[in-house]
Each structure stands twice: as C-alpha cells, then as structure tokens.
C-alpha cells in the first residue's frame, strides 16, 4: 500500500518524473559525448604527443594552426565543400521531397530506393565510388568512352578541382535523401485546407509554394540544413577513402587533417585543436537555426 502510494506520488508529479526518466540518457551522453569533448578542449591547449606527459600551452596550438598553410588549405576546402554540398543537397532535396509527397505508385518502394544512399555505410559506398573513379577501371569513363562522348579518360581524382568535384558529388549523392525524406515529412504536416483555401482565392501552384509551403517548412528546413551542415563539415570517411586529401591537399578537410596530425603524426594537442577549430562557426550556425525555428508563422 505504501509502495503504491509512493509510486502514485511520483507518477503525478510529471515534471520531476520527466527529469528522472531522462537522467540515464543524459548520463550516457555525458560519458560518451561530454567527456571526450571536454578532454578534447583540454588536449587542444596542451603540447600532448603520444606517450609523453603534456603541459598546458594555452592557445599556442590554435595560433600555430592559423599560421599553417596546410591548415588554411584544409579550412578553405572544408568551407567550400560544406557550402556547395549543402546548397546543392537543398536544391535537389526540396523538389525530390515535393515529388515523393505526390501520390505515386509504388510510393513506399520509391521512397525506400531514394533512401538507399543514406543508409548504406559511408565507407562501403565511398569504396564503390573509388572504383567508379578509378583511373584504369572507371565505369564512368567506360560509359562515356563507349558512348563516344569523350575521347580520353577523365581523371576524376587527377587534378585538384576534379578531385574536389568528385568528393563533393559523393557527399551530395549520400546526403540528398536526408534532405528529401525530412522535407517530405515536413510537407505531410502542412494542412491541406490551406492549399484549398488558397486555390479558392485564385492562387496558383507557384504562389502556394512561396506563400504556404516554404514558410510552413521553415523550421524543418532550418533543422535539416543545420544537421546537414554539421555532418558535412565533419565528413571524414568520403575523403579518407577516396582521395586521402589529395592531390596536393586539394581535398583535405579539417577532420582528415585532424586525424593526420593527431593520430598519424602523433601530435595529439594540435590534432585536437584542428578538430575544435570549427566549433565556434558551428555555434553560430546553431544560433541562426534556433532564430529561424522560433519565428512564428502568420497564416
């Protein structure tokens, strides 16, 4: 009886119950995410190398990085890679979502196929793309040569700009389904009555899209763009598998550089600093996303 009363009191105070129920998840997050993050910040301010004791050196690693030509190249590459990838993923994802939202047959099969690039493990798909780009056995080159569209093989990874385009293409191929499926989910929440009312007032499809669809999708778009930006700027696997940062560092990104400096060269302090350098930029992106999400819609 007393146990039942105690249980009943706990269940009635929902706010306290909520905190108690999410406490284990928060604890796990603190251990798996929080601890490494704090350790990373600590390491980034030391001269830590593998197997030696470290001393605090403040912002010395960040200053060294800022002056490093290789870091500047990787930072520039990361920003270009992220900007181009996210914009194109959005431009492709939105129309794809609009198409997927139509009552096509077979709808579930099409949606499943669209999702495939997203669900296949990145290392696996990157390995397949590496074969597609292979200088000797490229299937792209084989198709284009046999179709008579080119006379010589295209060196997909042979020049800095071609290599950049090639890895960006893979990121777009992988990430567009994420945009499409999430935007499609957002589209499904827009009340149909709004469109009916708009059409009654004489609005055409384009007007409906700009006046109803886009404003209603703003919170979803903000979420999707934020997540995609974070995931794209942190993309390691595609570049590591396909190009290893080459040729001549043209595809080197901050994550691949952090790995190279920290683990391959053994300079843990500078590796951590490299990984954390983009953190302030991401904070700004999160802030902007929060601002956009909070805007209320008048309709």
């Amino acid at each position: 009886m007393k146990f039942n009363n105690a249980l009943s009191r706990v269940m009635t105070n929902q706010e306290k119950l909520a905190y108690k129920l999410i406490a284990p998840a928060i604890l796990v997050l603190l251990l798996i995410v929080g601890y490494p993050f704090v350790m990373g910040i600590y390491l980034s301010m030391t001269d830590a190398t593998i197997g030696t004791s470290s001393t605090f050196n403040g912002l010395a690693n960040f200053i060294w990085l800022a002056q490093s030509r290789l870091f500047q190249t990787a930072l520039e590459n990361s920003l270009i890679f992220t900007l181009i990838s996210v914009v194109i993923k959005f431009l492709l994802g939105l129309p794809l979502a609009l198409l997927l939202n139509l009552n096509l047959k077979p709808k579930k099969l099409i949606r499943g196929i669209i999702l495939l690039p997203w669900v296949i493990p990145t290392v696996l798909s990157a390995t397949a793309w590496k074969w597609i780009y292979d200088p000797t056995y490229s299937v792209f080159n084989w198709l284009l040569l046999n179709a008579g569209l080119i006379d010589e093989k295209i060196l997909w990874l042979g020049s800095p700009w071609m290599a950049k385009i090639s890895v960006i293409l893979v990121n777009i191929w992988k990430g567009t389904p994420f945009f499409a499926i999430n935007i499609m989910a957002g589209l499904m929440t827009i009340p149909k009555e709004l469109y009916e009312a708009a059409k009654t007032d004489g609005a055409n499809s384009i007007t409906c899209f700009y006046k109803i669809t886009l404003p209603m999708l703003k919170p979803v778009l903000a979420f999707v763009i934020l997540f995609s930006t974070v995931m794209t700027i942190g993309d390691f696997n595609i570049v590591y598998v396909i190009s290893k940062g080459g040729p001549i560092n043209s595809t080197h990104l901050l994550p691949t550089l952090a790995y190279q400096i920290g683990l391959i060269t053994g300079n843990l302090g500078r590796g951590a600093a490299t990984a954390l350098f983009i953190f302030p930029v991401l904070l700004v992106v999160v802030y902007l996303q929060q601002r956009i999400s909070k805007n209320k819609n008048d309709w």
């Binding site: 007393k2 146990f3 190398t49 593998i50 197997g51 030696t52 490093s68 030509r69 290789l70 590496k130 292979d134 200088p135 000797t136 056995y137 010589e152 093989k153 060196l155 997909w156 990874l157 042979g158 020049s159 800095p160 290599a163 396909i242 190009s243 290893k244 940062g245 080459g246 040729p247 001549i248 560092n249 190279q260 683990l263 391959i264 060269t265 053994g266 300079n267 843990l268």
Partner: protein, 423 residues
Amino acid sequence: MNKKFLIFFILLICSVSLVFAAGATEKQAPKKSLSILMFSSFVAENDSELREIAKEFGEMKGIDVEVEFLGIQEMYPKLTAEVNSRSGHDIVGLENLQVSLYQNALLPINDIIEKIVDELGEFPASSITAVVRDGDWKALPWWIVPFNATYREDLFKEVGHAAPNSWDDLLVAGRALKAYGSPIGIPFGSCGDANNSLYQLMWGFGGGLADANGKIIVDSKETRNAISFAKQLYEQAMPAEVIGWSDNGANNNFLLSGVGSWSLQPISVWVTASKNNPSLAEKFNHHGALEGPAGRFGSGDFYSLGIWEFSPNADVAKEFLAYLYEKQIMNRYLTSGKGFNLPTHSYYYDHEIFSHPKLQGLKGYADAFRTTGFPAPPDQRAQDAYQRWVVPNLFYKVVSGRVPMDQAINETVKELLEIGYTR
C-alpha cells in the same frame, strides 16, 4: 518493510555477491598470457603461420597466446589508445616510423638483440636506423616489404630491352614501351606507393628533404635533377592517367590490366596474378633498386615488433621475440610469406624462397634499402613529412605542369620549416 521491496533487495544482494565471487575466483587462479597485435600481411598464409607459431610457443610455455590482426591504418588509433590508456596488448607490430612515434612507450630489448647478434651476426645499418633510439633497441626488426620493380619481361623483350639497371635505362626502355602501347607508370598522388616510389628516385639523384642534422636540403641541384627526370619519365614513358593515381592499388591495377609494363611495386602484383591470371603472372618478373647518379637506393616499408613498457608480461614477450628469430621458426615464416617479406637480417638473405626464378631480382635489395625520411633522422618530423605527402606533392606540382619548379621547391621549403626542419 514492503514485500516487493524486500524481494528486490535480496535479489540485488545476491547478484552483487555473485559478481564479486566470480572476480575473486578469477584472481585466485591467474594464468600467464601473451597478447600480440599484428598488422595483416598481404599474404594471408603469413598471418596463419604466425598464429601457428604463437600457438606452439604457448603450448611449449604453458601460457595462452592470442594474436590479433589489423590493417595498417587501423593500427594507428589502436596503438595510440593503448599508449594513452597504458593497457592493451603485450607485443605490437610497428610500421616504419611508428617506432619513433611510440618510442617512449616501448621497452628496450637490448638483451634480446645481443643474443640474436651472438647467434647470427650484426644487423644491417637500415635496421639500426629503423629501431634504435638513444642507443636502445626499441623494437625487433622483423621484415621489409621492398619497393622493387615489377615488370613485364615479355614486353621488354618485345621492344628489345632487358630489365633496366639504372634510371636512365628505364627512360630509354620506357620510351620504346610507350610507343609500343605498353607504358610504364609510377604514382604521383597522395598514397604510400607514391612516397616509396618517389623517395627512391629522389635519393638516386642525390636529393632529399633534410640532412642528418635536420637541415633542409630540398632546395638543391640534385633534387631539381630528380624532379626534372621524373617529368621526362612522365611525359615520354607514362600514360597521362598516372597523375590521377591516388591510392596504393592504382599501379597494381595498371599492371594487372595487361596494359602496364613496369612499376615500382612489391611482388603483390605477381602474387595476385598467380591466383587470378596465371598466364599473365608468368610474364611478370622483378628487379632490384635502380642506379642513379648518386647511387643505388631502395625504399619500402620496414616492419618491427615492439613490447609495451607497461606490459605485465614483458618477460614472456621477450622470450617470444627471441623465439621468432630462431632459425627453424624464421625459415618457416619466410617460406609462408612466399617472398613478400624480405628478412631484415643478412643471415636470412639467401633463404631458399628467393631462389625462385621470379624472386632472384630481390636478392640484396635490403642492402640498398633506406628508411623513411633518409637522410634526415627517422623522427616525428620525418613521419610528418611522409604523411603529409611532401615528396609526392612536390613531384606532382612540377610533373603535372601546375607549378613551376622554383615555386614548388619554395613551397616545400616552407612546409618543411612548418614541420620543424631548419634552414
């Protein structure tokens, strides 16, 4: 007290007691063990043989021996984690300058080396450079994967040339082969094969990144000659696509496709062809390091075995390393490698495996072998330069025509200063 709570409490106490009891039981009967972390060999039989050797050692000593294999690139984070946590395996496989990276965590094994030297003689200079740090042997030299040349003997004969002995011979033969439709190729991209190929070409012309004191020497006539030669080789003897070779498999594919006639590559191409295309395999052969104006230099990957200084089984780990170098054991291991592994000790240079007609060209390669970063010290800076692809990037810029020679050299000097070398 509530009945449900009482039952729950009793169950909890019983569970906790069982856990402690199991732990105590384990502590009462500890069994000696040895764990080994090894990089996967290209030849799978090598790994099987090592497992077998480890098992026999364990049975002989009455201990559990466990061997785990990982790819080379996976070894880096694993080894770093073990050093930072001061726990993990007892013996670890090390590639090239990983000895330098982890030298503070490796147990000196001077006593084991002394026994081997007493039995077999001195190790060659390349082994000493690879594993000795501050006068201590930090790892046991194990084997070298040589970057000898793999070439199509039939195609060379077709154009009237023998296997090249020098870089100049290669250029002459290469022109003829390209005209015949079977060009040669070496990678210039961001990959280990490009490092190994271009370092030995650079050394052959007397070039280098830094000298034994860490002073930058890349801005020299010798390095410029090497780069100019590479440009000639690319333009006159190679297909344009080699500039896009960005991974270690590209030159393999080039040769295995039947199009390529020569590349710097361990015997892996021949081994693969032997399984998948025996008639093509028959046409391949191998030759050693090429001679350049500054001498004959070879490159490759140097593998060694180290013991963590925090290993609780250091004594038995040392016994295992000594066991590996016993004649019958090493002979077995080299046989299982099918010639892929060159021994690091001259005692085993004439192992019967190298009397195979396709492998005779590898004899003596270890004498020409130089460790990564030569002539600079084999330290973290050399590792940094190697992993940043400093040499491939330098050659790529000039050979592809993207950057003039002087600018490329200046950019490389700046990068080497950043790495920690001095003017």
